[in-house]
Symmetry: C2
Subunit: 441 residues, 2 copies
């Protein structure tokens, strides 16, 4: 029998995901050795506080507060600390030492991905991050490798389970946003400070990573337009439902005509916002805290990848998949799978993107209202697909008011914004109750 | 500027998929060169008859009937001829010459995959086959690589678009099988001779490939139990619908207790049969000719991969993805990604598998019928989950008959078969109208 090589694995961080990764490394050592051809030895776990309670019981002697020393002695480094520093410096140290790095740190990748990929390229080491987007769902390899002979035109992702849970609750129970959020917090689907989720920041980081992969160009967080779900009302949800739609927070990256830089070429619009989707769209059926990424490619057509987007054990599965690949490379040799960025497509501002829109208006119940509004839309070059008026009568005062719901054909953000401004100026308009983007029509 | 290396690509077969692969190789040469670091030169297309009509107009000088010579001069070989011979011999020749091979030949892989993987391992060349299962859907890399640190427990796949289209039509229109098949043939979703699809043979080949990947053991077609959809009646579909189910032809590979070989270990049940799925199951929403593969893993939980399972252009996307990977390996060096078969889990016969069952019975409308039937189920150790009786009265004769629908808890095939036999022997039973397996409950 040949001697089996041992690879030292340093784990940085022991939260939800880290604890499960440690457990699997210990419990499944034999299976992992069979798959990689090497013994994966968990050489230590760097944490801030050794005495913090953990989800999994782990040998105390594995813990250390000296991450730097642990990293310098490792063949493979798993970074699950989150945040920018010291995660970034430790990853750079690992790369410079020639260690393969596996990370789930979406915030760091969205901010500094380009520089880290470059460092890894230079050092010829593999930097893997399947766990950073959509938890357990295999999405990095399919986009980067399986679709490498195709041209992706659009990616639509439900990549934040907290907001999907909240919107799903609002849709199925009619709850207001604040109540659905409170319920999500009670059940552990939302954190005590839910800002990063409900304001869309978490989804925006993932959008930057997905866009970079799909369009072979390095996009960072500052290229992503971001709008959260805090302004989505129960009335919006009800109106959407009534019209055959569901509201989802989508991370979108799509190829569009570059109308901004005036070179007539293509650009990429990367954005996160609440979006109406037809109920028969495959993403509409993604319920609760699940995630899914919908990809459109020129040849492959429509694809969807679905699964658990968070949680310690599912995310640990993605980390381990990356670790096995990195270990196999160390055992068998061969080049690191680096991030090729052959494209240099510019990121376009939200003003350059175009979608369909849903507009809700509270209008005076007078003859000629529809004609006046339709006229303003036409003036601004925004074509109306559906216009529906509902008359409400107040039970006490018997006063009538009318609600107007409009779905437009694809229009530019700029044209739509100008249209809404002009509509607001009409005397017959009591208020613009909602303006939401629509996909999949 | 450094000289860009040229890689000669031989294409074997120019049907639906082959013609699209040739088109993309020519039209997207620049993008493919940027992704691989090499010029991919389509050096020739081997066909049986040069004058056959093709979907795509291609330079006549590319065509040859001498596949052997073409293969011997190629760096990369794409085999899309289908069938066993001469495809097998040509692939072996390519492997022995050190060429990377990409194939979409599920029948060949299901029959001779083990031998071909071994040949490729020995020669250190890559044998890729993403296009062989579920067309455009990236499924091979996710199962083989992304989930390599996890343990898959079950794979459920809708991997045949023809049968999914037929069952979907029967479900939405109430059509009988024969009419839905005729409609599918008229629309080009089913072939003139639909046997391979409707009898489940095509799905069985894919089941063998999926099972081999998921359980790190080489399974062949003879390990797959196979039952097609020809006996599924409009009445079955209606009854399923009524009970909140949809009927899908599933390719199933799952880990089960090995009750056959008596070593108490695990075995794998690989099978294809019509299956009742709850309407809220993610696979239930897979409509028309689409495909999807649902994967359950110990850590990742439930995952689903969805997309177009057939068609020239979508399948070509999968072929090109494999080709880019194989070309990158030739350019950058490194070991071939061979098929590790670290597991040696035995394939179990259908008798060893267990599922829930749906049983439809036409019974006499007499007191005590339910008790008698329930007694027989209990005697055979088959536990009933739901039992529902519907009374029909014939409009003319006023004679009453009763229909009994039973859904069992998980039971072994053997126990179920014995139960059905015993039930058939009861005087109060007019007929057993259907026995169908149920998943996802």
């Amino acid at each position: 029998m040949t001697e089996v090589r041992t690879l030292k694995v340093a784990l940085l961080g022991c939260g939800n995901v880290g604890a499960q990764v440690a457990r699997i490394l210990i419990d499944d050592a034999e299976a992992l050795a069979a798959r990689t051809g090497a013994q994966l030895l968990l050489s230590g776990i760097a944490v801030r506080n050794i005495d913090s309670p953990r989800d999994v019981e782990l040998p105390r002697e594995l813990f250390t507060t000296d991450a730097e020393t642990l990293v310098k002695d490792a063949d493979l480094v798993i970074e699950l600390m989150g945040g920018i520093e010291p995660a970034r410096s430790l990853i750079v140290t690992a790369i410079q030492n020639g260690a393969g790095v596996v990370t789930g740190n979406k915030a760091l990748l969205a901010q500094d991905g380009p520089r880290l990929y470059e460092e890894a390229d230079k050092a010829g080491v593999q930097l893997s991050y399947e766990a950073a987007v959509a938890g357990a769902i295999p999405i990095i390899r399919p986009i980067r490798d399986s679709l490498s002979g195709d041209r992706i035109t659009r990616v639509l992702g439900i990549v934040n389970g907290t907001t999907n849970y909240i919107l799903d609750q609002m849709d199925s129970t009619g709850a207001q946003f604040a109540d659905a959020l409170a319920e999500a917090q009670r059940l552990g689907y939302a954190e005590a400070d839910p800002t990063a989720d409900i304001e869309g920041h978490d989804a925006a980081a993932k959008a930057a990573i997905l866009a970079s992969l799909a369009f072979h160009t390095r996009f960072a967080l500052e290229n992503v337009y971001c709008e959260g779900i805090t302004k989505v009302s129960a009335a919006d949800i009800a109106a959407a439902k009534d019209a055959g739609f569901v509201i989802k927070l989508l991370a979108i990256a799509e190829k569009v005509q570059n109308s901004v830089h005036g070179n007539g070429g293509e650009g990429i619009s990367v954005r996160v916002h609440p979006t109406l989707l037809p109920r028969e769209h495959p993403l509409a059926a993604v319920r609760g805290a699940f995630n899914a990424v919908f990809v459109e490619a020129e040849n492959a057509g429509e694809l969807m990848f679905y699964g658990q987007g968070a949680g310690g054990t599912p995310t640990a599965s993605a980390v381990l998949g990356d670790l096995v690949s990195a270990a196999r490379r160390l055992v068998l040799g061969g080049p690191a799978r680096t991030e090729t960025t052959t494209g240099h497509v510019p990121a376009l501002p939200i003003a350059a993107s175009s979608t369909s829109y849903y507009i809700g208006l509270d209008v005076a119940d007078q003859p000629g209202v529809l004609a006046k509004i339709a006229h303003i839309f036409a003036e601004h070059g925004v074509s109306i697909e559906i216009m529906r008026q509902t008359i409400h009568r107040d039970a006490e005062s018997q006063a009538e008011s009318a609600e107007l719901r409009i779905i437009t054909h694809r229009a530019s953000e700029a044209a739509l914004a100008a249209t809404v401004e002009a509509v607001k100026g009409l005397e017959i308009i009591n208020s613009v109750t909602s303006v939401l983007r629509v996909e999949g029509v």
